[in-house]
C-alpha cells in the first residue's frame, strides 16, 4: 500500500504536538510494511526527497515568500504540496492508495488530488478552529472553518484522537458520527486500528460503523 501523509509540521520543524505524532505514525507504518511518503513544509531543508529506513519525506517551501497572514501563506503553499504529491503519484506509476491529511492546512491539496486523480483521503483532525479561536467568527476564522468543513465533506473518513473530539466534530460540522473514527495515539492497538481504516479507505469503502 502507498500512502502519502500531509502535515504542516514534521521534525525538525516543530510547532506543537502534531510533528511528533506524525513522525511516530509514519515510522511505525513504514515498519509494518506500508510505503509511506510524508509531504511537509520546511523553509530551507527543501529538496526532492529524503529516505531513512524506508520512510520518505518531501519538504516543500512556499513559492511566495511574502505573506500577510497564515491563511494566504497556507493557500499558496498548497500548490507545492500538490506538485510534490503528483510527483510521487506519477513516479509510483499512479499507484497511490490514499492520502492522510493532518489538520486543515493541506486540505485544499487533498481535495484537488482527489478530484483530479481519484485518490481518496482521510482527514486526521488534531484540533479545530472553533476551539483554537474560542468561537471567534471573523472573516479570517470563517475562512479556516470553511476549509475544515470542505475537508470533512470531501474526506472518505475522519480520524480523531478522543471521544470528545468526535462529538465536537459532529456537533460543529454536522458530520455523521459513523464517518468519524477515534484512535487514541499510542494506546493499545492504535496502529492496528489505523491500518484497518487505511485498508478500508484504500479498498474504496466509504463508511464504517463505529461502536
Amino acid at each position: 500500500m502507498h500512502v502519502i501523509i500531509f502535515s504542516w509540521e514534521y521534525p525538525p520543524r516543530i510547532v506543537g504536538q502534531l510533528a511528533y505524532y506524525v513522525k511516530e505514525l509514519a515510522t511505525q507504518l513504514t515498519k509494518s510494511g506500508i510505503e509511506i511518503h510524508v509531504v511537509t513544509y520546511h523553509d530551507y531543508l527543501t529538496g526532492e526527497s529524503n529516505e531513512q529506513n524506508g520512510l520518505k519525506t518531501y519538504r516543500v517551501t512556499n513559492p511566495v515568500r511574502t505573506h500577510i497572514g497564515v491563511l494566504t501563506w497556507v493557500l499558496t503553499l498548497n500548490q507545492e504540496v500538490e506538485r510534490a504529491a503528483a510527483d510521487i503519484y506519477y513516479r509510483a506509476h499512479k499507484k497511490v492508495d490514499l492520502i492522510d491529511a493532518h489538520d486543515w492546512h493541506f486540505i485544499p491539496a487533498a481535495v484537488t488530488l482527489k478530484k483530479a486523480l481519484g485518490i481518496p483521503f482521510i482527514y486526521s483532525v488534531e484540533s479545530l478552529e472553533e476551539h483554537r479561536s474560542h468561537g471567534a467568527n471573523s472573516p479570517f476564522n470563517m475562512a479556516i472553518k470553511s476549509i475544515e468543513w470542505l475537508g470533512m465533506y470531501e474526506a472518505q473518513r475522519l480520524i480523531v484522537k478522543s471521544e470528545w473530539m468526535r462529538e465536537e466534530v459532529s456537533r460543529i460540522y454536522k458530520v455523521p458520527l459513523e464517518k468519524i473514527s477515534v484512535v487514541k495515539p499510542k494506546s493499545q492497538g492504535w496502529l492496528k486500528s489505523i491500518l484497518e481504516i487505511y485498508r478500508e479507505v484504500a479498498g474504496g469503502k466509504n463508511v464504517k460503523c463505529e461502536t
Binding site: P63, V64, R65, T66, H67, I68, G69, L71, T72, L75, T76, N78, Q79, E82, R83, A86, D87, Y90, P108, A109, V111, T112, L113, K115, A116, L117, G118, S138, P139, F140, M142, A143, S146, I147, L150
Partner: protein, 401 residues
C-alpha cells in the same frame, strides 16, 4: 476531431465584467472555437448566469466562488482559487484528462493554474494583462509584494507568457526577470462588428439625454482609479472649457469617484461633468459613437483596449503617450498623443480635435481602418493558436510525456 483542447481559467467572464479580462477571454475563446479548438472556460459564478452553458461554441463552467466575507481582496482570490481548482480538476477528470493546455489569465487564477498543471502534468500558459508593480507604481507594502510574488510565480510556472503589447513584454521581463524567449506578444483585439451593425440608427435622441446639442461630448471610459489618470482629465476640464463648449462624460466606478465629484463641485462645474457609473454594453457603445472625442489619460496602461473601442466606434482618440497606448496610436495619423499626467497637454489634445473638424475626420477614418486590419480577433486567434502549437510541440519532447 478537434485539434487542441484548451482550458481557460479566468476570474471574470461575461456577464461578470470587472475589467478588460472578461471581454478579452470571451472574444479570444469564441474566435479560437471557430478554428477547431475545443475551449473550456472555468470562471467565477454570477447571479443569474448558468453554472454550465455553451456560448458561441465555447463551453463555460461557472464555479462557486468563495462567498463568505473575506479578510481582504487577495485572501478572497486565494480562497476562490481553492474552489476553482477543485471544480476544474473534477471537470478535467470527467474528460479523462483530455485537456492539452491550461491557459491562465493574471495572478487571480495563478494557484488554480499551477495546481492543475502539476496534478495533470499538462503545460500551463499565462497571459499577463497587468502587474501589481505597474498598477501601484511600485511595491510599497507586504500586501502588494505578496501579489507581485504571486505574479512572478505564475510566470515562473508558465511554459510561455503572453503579453498584449511590446511595452508589456519589456515591463514583464523587467518586473519578473524572465528570459526573452519565454515571452510572446499577441495584441488584444476589438470586435468591430459590434460597433458597425446598427450604423444607420439615429442617436440624436440618445445623445440628448447626456448633452445639449451645442455641447461637444468628451468621453472617458474606465475604472475611476489612480492609474487610469481620470484626475488628469478633471484638471483639464476648465482649460478645455476656455476654448470649447463641451460636456464631459465619465463612465465607470472606482475609489476615486467621490473625491473627483467633490473636486468638480468645488470648481463650480457640476453642470459640465456627468458621472454615469457603470453602464451596460449597448449604452456604452452608443456613447462611444456619440463622443466627439474619447480620452484615455492613463498613467499606466498595459494595453489600452478602451482606445481601440473608441477607434472602432469612429470616435477620435486622445491618449497619454505611455505603455500600450503609445503603440496603438500614431500621433496626428490615427489619434492624438499627449504628455502623461499633464492636464495642460491633455487639454491641448482635446481642444485640437474639437476645434478642427477636418482633422477629427482624418484621424477617425485612419483609426477605424487600423483596428479593422490589425486588431481583429480572427487574426489574434491565429497568433494564439501558433503559441499553443509551439508549446505542445515542445511539451511532446519533454519528460512529462
Amino acid at each position: 476531431m478537434r485539434d487542441i483542447t484548451v482550458m481557460m481559467l479566468t476570474w471574470e467572464f461575461p456577464p461578470r465584467i470587472i475589467g478588460g479580462i472578461s471581454p478579452h477571454v470571451y472574444n479570444l475563446s469564441k474566435s479560437l472555437a471557430k478554428k477547431n479548438i475545443k475551449v473550456y472556460v472555468v470562471t467565477c459564478d454570477f447571479p443569474g448566469a448558468p453554472q454550465h452553458e455553451v456560448l458561441d461554441g465555447v463551453e463555460v463552467f461557472r464555479v462557486d466562488s468563495y462567498k463568505n466575507p473575506s479578510p481582504d481582496f487577495a485572501t478572497w482570490v486565494y480562497l476562490m482559487n481553492v474552489n476553482m481548482q477543485k471544480e476544474a480538476a473534477a471537470i478535467v477528470r470527467s474528460l479523462d484528462g483530455k485537456v492539452d493546455i491550461f491557459h491562465a489569465h493574471d495572478w487571480l487564477v495563478a494557484d488554480a493554474g499551477i495546481g492543475l498543471k502539476h496534478v495533470f502534468r499538462k503545460p500551463l500558459l499565462a497571459t499577463i494583462h497587468s502587474t501589481e508593480i505597474g498598477r501601484r507604481n511600485g511595491i510599497h507594502f507586504d500586501y502588494e509584494r505578496m501579489i507581485h510574488e504571486t505574479e512572478a510565480w505564475l510566470t515562473y510556472e508558465a511554459w510561455k507568457v503572453i503579453c498584449c503589447s511590446n511595452y508589456m513584454i519589456s515591463h514583464v521581463k523587467w518586473a519578473f526577470g524572465l528570459p526573452e524567449d519565454k515571452l510572446v506578444m499577441v495584441p488584444n483585439g476589438v470586435n468591430v462588428d459590434a460597433y458597425t451593425k446598427n450604423e444607420t440608427e439615429d442617436l440624436q435622441q440618445f445623445r440628448n439625454k447626456f448633452a445639449l446639442p451645442e455641447e461637444k461630448i468628451v468621453l472617458f471610459v474606465g475604472r475611476l482609479v489612480y492609474e487610469k489618470g481620470v484626475h488628469v482629465l478633471v484638471n483639464a476640464v476648465p482649460k478645455v472649457l476656455e476654448k470649447v463648449n463641451a460636456k464631459f462624460i465619465i463612465v465607470g466606478n472606482g475609489y476615486m469617484k467621490e473625491q473627483l465629484s467633490d473636486l468638480i463641485r468645488n470648481m463650480g462645474l457640476s453642470h459640465k461633468v456627468l458621472f454615469t457609473g457603470f453602464v451596460d454594453d449597448d449604452t456604452l457603445r452608443k456613447l462611444q459613437k456619440c463622443a466627439d472625442v474619447s480620452v484615455v489619460p492613463s498613467l499606466f496602461e498595459p494595453f489600452g483596449i478602451v482606445a481601440l473601442e473608441a477607434m472602432a466606434a469612429k470616435s477620435p482618440v486622445v491618449v497619454s503617450d505611455t505603455g500600450g497606448l503609445s503603440e496603438i496610436v500614431e500621433h496626428d495619423v490615427d489619434g492624438v498623443k499627449v504628455y502623461v499626467n499633464n492636464p495642460e497637454s491633455l487639454a491641448w489634445g482635446i481642444t485640437r480635435v474639437l476645434t478642427n473638424e477636418k482633422y477629427a475626420d482624418w484621424i477617425r477614418n485612419n483609426a477605424f481602418k487600423k483596428v479593422k486590419e490589425k486588431y481583429n480577433w480572427d487574426e489574434i486567434a491565429n497568433q494564439t493558436k501558433r503559441v499553443y502549437d509551439t508549446v505542445l510541440e515542445e511539451y511532446s519532447r519533454s519528460a512529462w510525456t
